[in-house]
Amino acid sequence: MLKQVEGSRGVAEAVARCRPEVICAYPISPQTHIVEALSGLVAAGELTPCEFVNVESEFAAMSVAIGASATGARAYTATASQGLLYMAEALYNASGLGLPIVMTVANRAIGAPINIWNDHSDAMSQRDSGWIQLYAESNQEALDLHIQAFRIAEELSLPVMVCMDGFILTHAVERIDIPGQDAVDAFVPPYEPRQLLDPGEPVSIGAMVGPDAFTEVRYLAHCKHLRALEVIPQVAKEFAAAFGRESGGLVGDYRCADAETVVVALGSVLGTVKDTVDELRDEGVSIGVLGVTSFRPFPFDAVRAALHGVRRVVVLERALAVGMGGIVAADIRTAWAGEPYTVIAGLGGRPVTKKSLRTLFADAVGDRLEPLTFLDLKRDLVERELRRTG
């Protein structure tokens, strides 16, 4: 059903249609509206059977999700920023135990200094946690990715993070199509756990593994992620067949086929990048866009194929690896023979505008870009501070 609603509301309704049996969450901006809406649906009896557990922290939220999932319940939570960091220890347990928890990350910067606005530092900091990470370009895709995430998670016995840009998507009111319950029921069958904690047949899970087998455990985790590279596009394909629209998958290319320059980006900035690329194409510039939907597992082959024969690659990053530069660019280097331009943009809610992107892409096409660029950096301000601190 087409609705004009806030992204958070759309995601909450999509999650509810996936019939989670346990939802546990601790509020943090900009995730709050999602769990607020879900708690309302549970309280009103519109999502049943489902237990909404109010927890005292994000660490507890993930721990409750782990407990619920281990006993065979479909479990969901959501967080952002510092909340995700507070979960970090439990995140590794969820993936290590192979529990198909689905979590929304309403992407937000990490302090200090305190900043409630959007960037990807939070999710990127958990890059190696063993969770699948999918990034939404629009609210429609955010909603669709949640429906796909439960399928992917349960098929692989792996937890999935659906990352949507905080405020930019969570608080934007847009037209979205929220599928009906029957359609979602047909797409997301009831969860059938492969193993479960049952007092009737007690087992231990997550027991200690010594040097004799720990490498093998990790190797198997890697194999599972490689298998996810097949499952994610398969689920996206089935989704397109069932719901009649393209969403998800590993990567999305736009006007890439003959492009000399390709911009790689993740999340909501892709819309603005595509509008900019359309304008430049009209002016005869040979440029395209590659959106990375699945950041983990990293789709080497799909990226390699999309960037094959491309002369320049600009990687637009909403996070910074301090002391190194780009996080996504480091991955792109493994899938493209050249040296990509890394551009750090949109940190802590700094708007990424078409105006700035036009100048940036013109500089890239003219080979005038530095290998590492900070978009719209207030150079006078940083230089004054650098002089002061010597």
Partner: protein, 196 residues
């Protein structure tokens, strides 16, 4: 694409106004996107809301830099915040006030715009009359519909009906209709004066 920026203060319903406008456009079967400035909003602090309306899907998620229309819910902001930033000579200006533009010291700026695209409406008074509360946001959308034609009056009414119920919906709708009629009448007078 038609882009609108709404200025008001925390508690006046700026975010709701932007959302209602997008819903009205949606009811008109147009594409729309509404979003607030994202911050730690407090009651009384300056707040900005945005809305985009188009007949094609809207992909961009950048803030609105060059609005086609500016709606000012609280006229006390006009000399505190640069409410006209990015508004071009063909832009629309709608101010909630019972004063004149001259009294607000806005006549010099407004003089740069086309006269038929500048309008003052006593939306707070209309809200007090019909709703009993000083919430001008929805009321201004009635005036906006008449001024710009970007959304239809019946869509604004339907959007309010979806969001509110009972006396709140009825009061808002009555105020919206009156604001619409006021602006329509002023525009007709203006065009008659021009013709004469």
């Amino acid at each position: 694409m038609f882009e609108i920026r709404i200025h008001g203060r925390g508690g006046q319903g700026v975010v709701t106004t932007a959302e209602l406008l997008s819903v009205a456009a949606f009811i008109n079967d147009r594409e729309a996107q509404a979003f607030p400035t994202f911050g730690s909003e407090r009651t009384g602090a300056p707040v900005v809301g945005f809305c985009r309306i188009d007949d094609r899907p809207i992909r961009s998620h950048e803030p609105v830099a060059e609005p086609n229309a500016v709606i000012i819910q609280d006229a006390t902001l006009v000399h505190q915040v640069n409410v006209f930033e990015g508004l071009g000579a063909n832009g629309y200006l709608l101010v909630n006030t019972s004063w004149s533009l001259a009294e607000l010291k806005l006549d010099s700026f407004a003089g740069r715009l086309r006269p038929e695209r500048v309008m003052v409406v006593p939306a707070t008074e209309l809200a007090l009359t019909h709703l009993g509360r000083p919430l001008p946001g929805a009321v201004l959308l009635g005036a906006f519909a008449a001024l710009t034609g970007q959304v239809r009056l019946d869509s604004v009414v339907a959007a309010i009906g979806k969001r509110f119920s009972g006396p709140v919906a009825a009061g808002n709708i009555a105020a919206v209709r009156e604001a619409y009629a006021m602006v329509r009448d002023q525009l007709q007078e203006g065009s008659r004066a021009q013709a004469g």
